[in-house]
Amino acid sequence: MAERIATPSWRHASFAGWGRVLHAEMDAARPERIADIARALGAVGRRGVIVHGGGRSYGDAALNSGGQAIMTSRLDRLLDFDPASGLVVAESGVTFDDLRRVFLPRGFLAPVTPGTAFASLGGAVANDVHGKNQDRAGNFGRHVVWLELMLPSGEVRRLLPDDPLFKATVAGLGLTGVIVAVAFKMMKVPSRFAAVRERRVRNLDEFLEALEEVRRSATYSVGWIDALAKGGKLGRGIVESAEPAPAEEGERYREARRWRVPFDFPAIALNPLSIGLFNAWHWRSAPARERVRRISYDRFLYPLDAISSWNRLYGRRGFHQFQCLLPEANSRKALRSILETCVGSRAASFLGVLKTMGQEGTGLLSFGGRGHTLALDFPARAGIGDLLTRLERMVLDNGGRIYAAKDSHLSAAGFAAMYPGLAQFRSILAEVDPEQRMVSDLARRLDIRGDGR
C-alpha cells in the first residue's frame, strides 16, 4: 500500500547496452504493478518509449536516447506452475536465474535459455533468444504457450501462437508493447547436471565435421572457436555436446561462487597478443581425444555468469558483438572467408562461438533457420566499424542474417534484406501502435518502422 500520489515517477539516468559501446540518456519508469505500466504508457512523450528488461542486449535494442524506458525488473513474480505439465506462467521481469533457482531443485529446466541467466523472460520473447539446443528445440518463442501483452494503448491482450500479433511480439524487439506475462513449458530433467563431452578440433573442416556429428546425436551442442588462429589452424576450437545427466546417489550440489570485476580494465588489457595467448592456452586445455564430464547446468549453460559484469574486462570503450547465421549451403565457404577477414584485420575475439542451428523461429523477425551461426566479440577500437561493414556484406552475399539482440552496427538496408518478414511486421506495428509510442535506438537505426524516423 505504500504509494505516492503522483503518477509513476521517472528517473533520468544513463544506460548502456551490455557491450557498452552504445549509450543512452533516458527517463526510466520502474513499475511494480500492472496498473503502473498502463500509467507509464499514458505518460509517453514525443521521443517514445522502449521496454528495458535484464539489460543483456549487447547493442541498442533496449536503449532510447532522449526518450523514455519502462524497466521490468520489479515485475518479477511467478504466477503459476503445474508440476504435471511443467507449465510456468511468469511476469516478464522474471529472469532465467530466478527460474534456475526455483525450478532446477524440482527437476525442471528452461526449455531454451540464452547464454546468460540474467536475461529476462520478456527479453527472451522480444529477441526470440536461442541456446545450445537450437538445432532441436528451436528458439524460446516456440515454447511459449501464450503471452499477455499490454498494447501501447494500455489494453491488455492474451495472444496465442497463431495470432499475427504473437508472431510480431516474438522477436518484436519490444516494439509491440509491454509483455506482462509469459506462459511456457519447462523441461523435465533427471538431475542438476549435464554430461558434457568435449574435444578439440584442429581446423574449420574438423570443426564442421564434429558439429555435424553432434547435431545428430546430442541435445546440446556448441563450439568455441579461436578466431585468431590462422593458416592451417584457421577455425580450430573445442566442440562440446551434452545430454541431461541421470541422477546419482548422494550427489551434492553447491551453488557456484560468483566473482565480479570491480573496475573497468584498461582498454589495452585485451589486445591481439593477450587474446591470442589466452586462446592458445584455452585450446590446449581441452583434450585432443573426447572427454566426458559431469557439469552443473549453471556452469554448462551460463559459463560467463560466474563473473558478474564481465563486460568491464573490455575497458571503458566496450566491445562489439557480431552474430550471424549462414545458411547451410554456403556456410563452409562463408565461414572461411569471414574468419580470414577477422584474422586479417587483427580484430581479436576471445568469446568466439560456432554452432549449428536447425529450426526456424516463430517470430516475423526471428533469428533462426538451418545453418551455422558464428558469434564473435571485438574490443572497440578504430577500424572495427569498417570490419563490421565488410562482415555485413559477406553475410548478405551468402544469404545469411545478423542477430539484432547482439548488434550495434548493422545498416537499415542490410536489416531489410536479411529479414523478409519486415514488411508484415511494419503493417502490424502500424495497427497496434498508430501513435508510434514504442521506439528504440535500434528501431531508429534499422528503420524498423519504415518511416525514416
Binding site: M1, A2, E3, S9, L79
Partner: protein, 245 residues
C-alpha cells in the same frame, strides 16, 4: 506441536512487503497478505506459493477504513501469528501544502490507521500466546523537516505509540520492533532526487525478519542511519530551522 510461523503482512503491495513475503515463502512459512489492491496481492500470493509458502491467504485491508479493522482482526485464524506492518503513504510536501485533504489522509494512513489496527491486533496476539510485531516507520519521524514534516509527524506519533505498546505488551509475549528505514529503493521513493546509500527492499526484508527473531526494539536500517540521525537530532533548533534539509 511445532507449527509453521504465520505472518500477517499489512500493506502487501509495498516493495518491502513483497520482498518480505518472498523471503518467508522460501523458508516455508504461512502468510496472510492484506492490502487494498487485491488483484496485485493475488499475484504476490501466487509467487509465494510457487516459491515454497505452505499456505497463503489474501485479505482486503484498508488502513483508512478504521471501522473495518475490528472485523478484519476478528476474522484472523485462531492461532499464534506475527505482524509485519508495511503500509504507508508518502506524498510530496508540495502537494500536501496545496491540499488539506491530503494532509488528513497522510495522518489517517500513517498514524491513525496503524494505531487502529495494532491496538486490535496486540491483544489478540497476546491471547494466542504472543508473537512479533515489526512496524516500518521512518527516519522522517525523528525530526520534522520542511521537505516532509506531515509524513514525519505521523511517523513520530507512530514511534511514540509503538514505544508504549512495546512496554505494555513486553510481559505478554508480544515483541514490538520499530524499524526506521533511511533511503530505500522502493516504488514510494523511486525517482526522488538527493538519495544516497540506498537500501534494497530485499535487504530490508531480511533485516526485519532477523530483528523479529531477536526481539529488537528500535532499529535503523541500514544501521549507519543511527549515526546520521543522531547528528541531525543533535543540531540545535535555532540552527536547524535555518537549514533547508
Amino acid at each position: 506441536m511445532s507449527e509453521r510461523p504465520l505472518w500477517l503482512v499489512l500493506g502487501a503491495s509495498s516493495s518491502v512487503a513483497r520482498a518480505f513475503a518472498r523471503l518467508l515463502a522460501e523458508r516455508g512459512g504461512d502468510l496472510i497478505l492484506a492490502g487494498r489492491d487485491i488483484a496485485d496481492i493475488e499475484r504476490t500470493a501466487a509467487d509465494a506459493r510457487i516459491r515454497g509458502a505452505a499456505r497463503v491467504d489474501v485479505r482486503t485491508f484498508d488502513a483508512i477504513d478504521r471501522a473495518g479493522h475490528e472485523a478484519f482482526v476478528a476474522e484472523l485464524p485462531r492461532r499464534r501469528f506475527n505482524v509485519f506492518l508495511a503500509f504507508g503513504m508518502l506524498a510530496p510536501q508540495a502537494e500536501i501544502d496545496r491540499s488539506a485533504a491530503l494532509t488528513q489522509q497522510m495522518i489517517a494512513v500513517n498514524y491513525l490507521g496503524a494505531v487502529s489496527v495494532l491496538s486490535r491486533l496486540a491483544p489478540r496476539m497476546a491471547e494466542e500466546g504472543g508473537g512479533a510485531i515489526v512496524a516500518l516507520s521512518s527516519v522522517a519521524g525523528d525530526r520534522g523537516r520542511p521537505s516532509n514534516y506531515v509524513y514525519g509527524s505521523a511517523k513520530a506519533g507512530l514511534n511514540a505509540y509503538l514505544q508504549g505498546l512495546r512496554a505494555a505488551y513486553a510481559a505478554k509475549g508480544v515483541s514490538v520492533t520499530t524499524v526506521k528505514p533511511g533511503f530505500m529503493d522502493t516504488s514510494m521513493t523511486y525517482g526522488m532526487s538527493g538519495m544516497f546509500l540506498v537500501g534494497s527492499p530485499q535487504a530490508c526484508a531480511r533485516a526485519c525478519l532477523a530483528y523479529a527473531a531477536k526481539g529488537r526494539d528500535v532499529v535503523y536500517f541500514p544501521a549507519f542511519w543511527w549515526l546520521i540521525m543522531a547528528i541531525i537530532k543533535a543540531i540545535p533548533e535555532r540552527i536547524f530551522k535555518r537549514l533547508r534539509l
